[in-house]
């Protein structure tokens, strides 16, 4: 019997060990490595000098160039998140409260873009906003403009592309939250004299906050870490922080600098995740996967 108890105590660890080994070996240990690498030095000959040099850190933290792009990245992520919150809340609210029979189908449609390729969705905006795209063709044919207008390759189109990419994440998180609210609560508020809007503001909105916060966190972190969207939809000046990392690592092969840059991004977004989990718990994000 004692052996049985010991066996049962061991079972979860046996089940967990392949995953934990994978994550430790392919994530935790490599993360420690970038910390070490960030203190090495890239020499003119192209070799890495092992040691403890602060040069990369001084360059990354001191250079205006990096600071400006970091600031721009956070700003783009912020705009994206705010727009996603406003634009995403409405359909989530509609589907959660509709009496239509096709509710499940409507929800499926909102989640469908998840499955459609990110790169295809991003480049599709070129078909719409490009000089020979849908919008220019339409505006010319109805005579509003005579020559095509260049609408692409600026910061706004980067935000637009990111909103399009991340909106389903927001909608799903908000929906899960809204769907869990007891409808009797809003009815009670209204029977006590609240108008529909007051009931929403005082009851529904606060109760849906966890979903809104989870969606916002996901949107912000994913937007701030992206580098495909600025390349496809942005202009030469719209690079984001991840573009610098890619440039340093893949193009210049300057791994120590790339390591320091990625750690800056990680520290900023990590701080955000930690603040978030401190107040709301990690479980909220998991809810949207049910």
């Amino acid at each position: 019997m004692a052996a049985d108890v010991a066996g049962a105590r061991r079972t979860p660890w046996v089940l967990l060990s392949p995953s934990l080994a994978t994550i430790s070996l392919l994530l935790i240990v490599p993360m420690l490595f970038i910390v070490v690498y960030s203190f090495w030095l890239r020499t003119a000959t192209g070799a890495d000098q092992v040691g403890f040099y602060l040069d990369n850190w001084i360059e990354v933290l001191g250079d205006r160039f990096y600071r400006d792009i970091l600031f721009q990245t956070l700003l783009i992520a912020f705009y994206t998140t705010v727009i996603c919150a406003f634009v995403g809340y409405i359909p989530a609210y509609f589907v959660a409260n509709t009496r239509m029979k096709s509710k499940a189908f409507l929800l499926l449609l909102l989640v469908l873009p998840f499955w459609i390729s990110y790169i295809i969705r991003t480049m599709s905006w070129i078909n719409i906003l490009g000089t020979s795209g849908a919008l220019n063709t339409l505006l010319i044919s109805i005579g509003i403009i005579d020559d095509p207008v260049q609408m692409l390759y600026n910061q706004q189109t980067v935000v637009l592309g990111l909103v399009h990419y991340l909106l389903p994440f927001m909608i799903l998180n908000v929906y899960v939250s809204l769907d869990g609210i007891d409808k009797n609560l809003t009815e009670a508020a209204q029977s006590l004299g609240c108008t529909g809007f007051q009931a929403f503001r005082e009851v529904t909105l606060p109760l849906s906050m966890p979903g809104l916060a989870a969606g916002s966190l996901l949107c912000f972190v994913l937007a701030a870490g992206t580098y495909i969207t600025p390349i496809v939809l942005g202009g030469p000046r719209d690079a984001m922080f991840a573009n610098l990392v890619f440039e340093a690592i893949v193009t210049q092969l300057n791994w120590p600098l790339g390591s320091a840059l990625s750690l800056v991004l990680l520290a900023l977004l990590g701080a955000l995740v930690i603040i978030y989990t401190r107040y709301l718990g990690i479980d909220q994000i998991a809810k949207s996967f049910k």
Partner: protein
């Protein structure tokens, strides 16, 4: 004045339009006979799909993506299902920490994850390879499998397992005869999720892929550098159909399997 609800309804329709208009335009342009693959529409044609079929680079990328996706899904579903089982069915010290650790790859920006793994393997003097790509995809998809399977597993009642055990089944027998069949839909969903994420991944893949190897997304990305060709639209249309068809096919297979099982047990 319009009621609040109608405003919400109209706004919702606009959001649906926003989500699907770009995709619709890709599909529309894929059938455009125009040689630049842009507006105006000059007639209906399959020529770009034909060009796609004859484009060796794209066909190769498709095969690579398919193989990578299947292997990633198989490995991370196996690992993730075991982990999810431990998280739902057992209590043990340090559970919260491990739960965070299991979802960590989602919370770390993918670029950082990509850099870390790449540097580590370079340090071990292992060159970039398909294996590195596969390892990266497994780490990246694992949390999604754990979350999906865990979420569904919670709703499978423990009683049936206990009933099987009390009737004399060993834990291993119980797992294969009772638990696994019950959680199969969740496992399939996790597998599908892992496959799709792997198939769609571009960020990590661009860091990890060895020279000359392309997956479908990186191939599209490379083609975009020149200009947006009509072939990309055709490829986009194929991928949209593929991604819509895949869950539907998977769901019907699951249904057929379930029906066969019930009729066999009668």
């Amino acid at each position: 004045m319009m009621s609040g609800w109608s405003v919400i309804r109209i706004a919702t329709i606009l959001v649906y339009l926003f989500l699907f208009a770009p995709v619709a335009v890709v599909i529309l342009l894929a059938f455009n006979a125009n040689q630049f693959g842009s507006f105006p529409i000059e007639g209906f044609s399959f020529r770009w799909f034909e060009a796609l079929w004859n484009n060796d680079a794209i066909v190769r990328a498709f095969k690579t993506s398919l193989l990578l996706g299947v292997l990633t899904a198989a490995i991370s579903t196996t690992l993730g299902t075991l982990a999810a089982l431990a998280m739902v069915r057992y209590d043990f010290p340090g559970k919260r920490t491990i739960s965070t650790l299991l979802v960590a790859p989602i919370l770390i920006p993918e670029v950082v994850l990509a850099v870390a793994l790449l540097l580590f393997l370079q340090f071990l003097s292992m060159p970039k390879s398909f294996g590195l790509l596969l390892m990266g995809h497994v780490v990246f998809t694992l949390p999604f499998v754990v979350l999906v399977v865990q979420a569904r597993l919670v709703s499978i009642r423990r009683d049936v397992e206990e009933a099987a055990m009390s009737l004399g089944a060993t834990p291993v027998q119980t797992f294969f005869e009772v638990t696994l069949p019950l959680m199969l839909p969740a496992v399939m969903a996790g597998m599908l999720f892992a496959f799709t994420i792997s198939f769609d991944d571009i960020t990590g893949t661009l860091f990890w892929k060895p020279g000359g190897v392309e997956t479908v997304p990186t191939q599209i990305f490379a083609m975009l550098r020149n200009s947006i060709s009509p072939e990309i639209n055709a490829l986009g249309a194929v991928m949209v159909m593929f991604t819509i068809a895949l869950p539907i096919v998977a769901a019907s297979i699951a249904r057929v399997m379930a029906m066969r099982k019930t009729s066999a047990s009668k």
